[in-house]
């Protein structure tokens, strides 16, 4: 079985995002970029399935500008067999990303696609579900446990009410939650080895995907700030303050 993994590059989760004063975007020049944490988890899960003998090949997919190759090399260094780079300088909305994956699926015929449950930049939480719809296959979102046997995948999902277990026939789309696994660290020799692994570049325009730009972002703003609070010195003062506000 072959596994396709979404491997998106985003602003590192430690960066404190600043909105540009003129409201046209957020400052991304010179900030640290990393793999979307959920995508590192997706890749780790795919690698573990390969190590268990459930899968033979793991392919990381990135959609983005020319300099995305350095990021894809990290995915290769982590252990993916090869990478596909869909080259575009345009903003890619989730439906478009899903359509790109659908095209790649037609060509690659994977048994499983693993994406992050959300990318931590746009926090859209859509691409996997949209892909499953377009592909007309099962989806198992927010996965915290994945087991594959007999052409079926059993997934434990983190839902508001607790943990939901579902069973789906393969091929299927899984999106990862944080507790699925802990991604491995990349070691130096792996970076050297990754240099010889293939990255296929495909021009976005050549895929025949209709770019969806139904949503226009017209303005960016910083969130409303909470005003600075007060410090109390002990439990009695805290109780008094809460009683005064009518909260206790």
């Amino acid at each position: 079985m072959k596994i396709l993994v979404g491997y998106k590059r985003v602003v590192d989760y430690n960066v404190r995002i600043q909105v540009k004063p003129d409201g046209t975007g957020v400052v991304t020049d010179g900030v640290k970029l990393s793999a979307n944490p959920f995508d590192d988890i997706a890749l780790e899960e795919a690698l573990r399935l390969r190590e268990k003998g459930v899968a033979e090949e793991v392919v990381v997919v990135g959609i983005g500008p020319a300099d995305l190759t350095a990021h894809l090399r990290n995915g290769l260094a982590m252990g993916a067999n090869r990478a596909i780079h869909v080259v575009t300088t345009d903003a890619v909305q989730p439906l478009t990303a899903a359509r790109v994956f659908q095209k790649l699926i037609e060509k690659e015929q994977p048994g499983l696609v693993i994406l992050g449950k959300q990318a931590i930049d746009d926090d859209a939480n859509q691409t996997g579900q949209m892909l499953a719809a377009l592909w007309d296959r099962p989806q198992a979102t927010f996965a915290s446990k994945v087991e594959i046997a007999d052409g079926k995948v059993t997934v434990t999902r983190e839902v508001d009410a607790g943990l939901e277990v579902i069973e789906a026939e393969l091929p299927a789309v899984i999106t990862t939650d944080l507790r699925l696994n802990e991604p491995r660290f990349i070691k130096l020799p792996d970076i050297m080895k990754a240099k010889s692994k293939p990255i296929d570049s495909i021009e976005f325009g050549s895929l025949g995907v209709e770019a969806n730009d139904h949503l226009k972002t017209t303005h960016y703003a910083a969130p409303a700030k909470r005003s600075k609070g007060v410090m109390v010195k002990d439990a009695a003062e805290l109780v008094a303050a809460l009683k005064q506000k009518g909260l206790l």
């Binding site: 579900q129 499953a132 719809a133 296959r137 099962p138 277990v165 069973e167 972002t217 303005h219 109780v239």
Partner: protein, 314 residues
């Protein structure tokens, strides 16, 4: 002319309050009609609850055995069919809505607006990105159905009681997939208030130190009638189950009182509590970032302070 279809969320035959929050967001558009769609195996009791929500014009039910559990692959084609004639389809941005609605959007070939915080016009909305560190204004295409999930923490639940909307059964002609099956739901049954809708929440973090120690959090929460939450670190360390996680990748909540105990205040945690009325922080480190956003801060050892608080409460 706007006509809005709101997808009802329910569990164990009961309507979830997130539905009434999504109705509030729908009402903000001042539409001609708000219809609530209930997909269930047995929809009657849920539909009766939904019919009482202010502003609801009609409740539509699709009762089929396949709808016993909320499987996105099964629900989405029915919702996509039912959405014909509606200008907007809304669902709460809970794990239910997040799972099913993008699948509906893709079937309709339209984009989805995730986590609507405010309505600026029939096709213009505000939503958070980067864990709430930026708020964008997005305009949806006027010629397509608007599919959107509603950030429940931003909307008060529409009032219930005064309304008595008609309930109608709907039959949609779609073949449903059988490739996905529900196995079980493991939920930590608890008599405590529900984290997502509670007016008071007491959360513990890594500072609590162990599963056993977490009893002190439960005990205090029970004393003041609060729901219990946790940071990711506390969940990862196994102190509490995952459905108690508050934050960017957990639950986004807006209680009147939020008490963060032994929680440092990482940006991903703060995302989940930005709309809380009053935030109280108890932490032994006076430099912890949680104090930058807390309305009331108390520096000290939680194991000393919590018993003192209980005593002060009598």
């Amino acid at each position: 002319m706007s006509k809005i279809l709101v997808i009802a969320e329910h569990l164990n035959g009961k309507l979830n309050s997130s539905t009434a929050r999504a109705v509030s967001a729908a009402a903000a558009i001042k539409p001609d009609a708000i219809d609530v769609l209930v997909l269930a195996d047995n929809a009657d009791a849920i539909a009766a609850d939904a019919a009482k929500i202010d502003g609801v014009s009609r409740v539509l039910t699709i009762a089929r055995a396949e709808n016993a559990h909320p499987l996105a692959a099964v629900l989405a084609p029915q919702i996509a069919k039912a959405s014909a004639g509606y200008s907007h389809v809304f669902a709460p941005s809970t794990t239910f809505g997040k799972d099913v609605l993008p699948r509906v959007a893709a079937l309709l070939g339209v984009a989805q607006v995730s986590d609507v915080m405010s309505v600026e016009g029939s096709h213009t909305f505000k939503r958070p990105i980067y864990a709430g560190n930026a708020i964008i204004t997005v305009e949806a295409d006027a010629g397509s159905t608007v599919v959107a999930t509603i950030r429940t923490a931003s909307w008060a639940a529409a009032a219930t009681g005064a309304n008595n909307a008609p309930v109608e059964t709907l039959s949609v002609d779609v073949t449903l997939p059988t490739h996905t099956r529900f196995v079980e739901l493991q939920s930590g049954k608890s008599d405590r208030p529900d984290l997502q809708s509670a007016s008071k929440v007491v959360s513990g973090g890594r500072g609590v130190g162990s599963k056993e120690n977490f009893e002190i959090i439960y005990k205090f929460a029970d004393k003041i009638g609060a729901a219990v939450g946790a940071s990711r670190a506390a969940v990862d360390a196994g102190y509490v189950p995952s459905d108690l996680q508050v934050g960017q990748t957990g639950k986004i909540i807006a209680p009147e009182l939020y008490m963060a105990i032994g929680i440092s205040g990482a940006i991903q945690h703060l995302t989940g509590i930005k709309d809380a009325g009053t935030i109280v922080a108890i932490n032994k480190d006076g430099e912890a970032p949680i104090f930058e956003i807390a309305d009331i801060g108390l520096v000290g050892d939680l194991f000393k302070i919590l018993p003192e608080l209980e005593q002060a409460l009598g």
